[in-house]
Symmetry: C2
Subunit: 261 residues, 2 copies
Amino acid sequence: MPKIKLLVSYDGTDFCGWQKQKDHAFAPELPSVQETIEKGLEKIFRHPIDLCASGRTDAGVHAIGQVCHFETDRPLPKDLCWALKPQLPDSIAPKAAWIAPDEFHATLSAVKKTYRYWIWNHPRSSALLTRYSWWIRNPLDLDFMNQASQYLIKHQDFESFRSVGTPVKHTFREIYGAQWAYKKPNLIEFRVTGNGFMKQMVRNIVGTIVDLNQKNQQVTRMQEILDAKDRRKAGPTAPPQGLFLSKVYYPKDLDNKCRQI
Amino acid sequence: MPKIKLLVSYDGTDFCGWQKQKDHAFAPELPSVQETIEKGLEKIFRHPIDLCASGRTDAGVHAIGQVCHFETDRPLPKDLCWALKPQLPDSIAPKAAWIAPDEFHATLSAVKKTYRYWIWNHPRSSALLTRYSWWIRNPLDLDFMNQASQYLIKHQDFESFRSVGTPVKHTFREIYGAQWAYKKPNLIEFRVTGNGFMKQMVRNIVGTIVDLNQKNQQVTRMQEILDAKDRRKAGPTAPPQGLFLSKVYYPKDLDNKCRQI
């Protein structure tokens, strides 16, 4: 059955996360991004849609470039994104669609991901960045945070940044780049790229680096935390609203086999 | 009675505008920014507060730097913005406060205002800019729009940009600067500064310039519209969510007499 690859952006504020909550115990009143897009696609294709993403995003986390796929044997509209748009709330924007080769799988084929995290670093809160940043009053030291981030860059065990209760096959991941920079005055952006991230791993990293900075710790504490392989040695989890899934990378040859529609 | 000058920012999405709606016929379920801040101040000062702004903003319009004032004879908290912050929703941020001289009046003393208007100009909608921009699919021509804007720059009659049903003493205003530029790829920002703006005047200007561009009109149409002194000759009103009250200017000598608290 033909496979469709879809690139979407969303504002995670009003969703319980990407995936439908099974028990709806957490945020029972909020829909998931997944079911919202599935319902939109079902109105177009008139059969149940099973949407599979590159990875889940948590409640409140945004996506600039989430990738997902589904299968359908029905005729495709001339412009799928344009057809889908009116079926979705404004908080979800379809950005591009492709017919993908059979071997493409949004989760399993992904080789690299980039996340961004925004911190509004100012004594006063920002009304216009509330939904999209973590507000931190006291000045952060970007030099310190960039030095601390360099300890992340290699293939290693990120057990200390695995949230409790997150089952994973193993806790080894490779981080290729991790950098803090001013996006504009008082708005700090963290960009991190790696071959994979566990649930809340980016938020645990951000929370830890900010915590070390605010407690005037030595930057070498970062290595000790990694070596400890113990979540309790790391800092708190940064809040979700600052996090954006920015880009998902697939192998070049798979990209080349995708035909934009 | 001591006069307090307050600088605030707000996300206008969830408000019926700055001012309390008398009949609540429009957006009856939404609070006004004014009453929300007044209630917050009343919790601190424990007497009724009458808050006066530099000007009203319409439903859905945002403010980066709205200025308002109120009077109180009660003791001031050490940091008024900090004390006020927890009394307000996250969509309103107090940015600074001053003790102002008696002759200061947020509305009457204002000599100049700058507005910004954001247009997301891309075939695909943007999930993260939905609340803060007008989405226009077809490419706009910034050269054309900048040329059209130059007709605005002088002291003249803006009758053609006065919304029907807006009572004003006169329709003469002076615009000092009006410019379109790319804020980032596909995000166009219009900045306009003048000595005063009538209700919806900026949105009428933006809607008209976009309309002329999209209908491939001659740029000289702008002068004809101004000369007509007839709202029906101008274009539609641009939607509110792209508009930001950016800055309100007061005379230097008044600013110098304000003491930040």
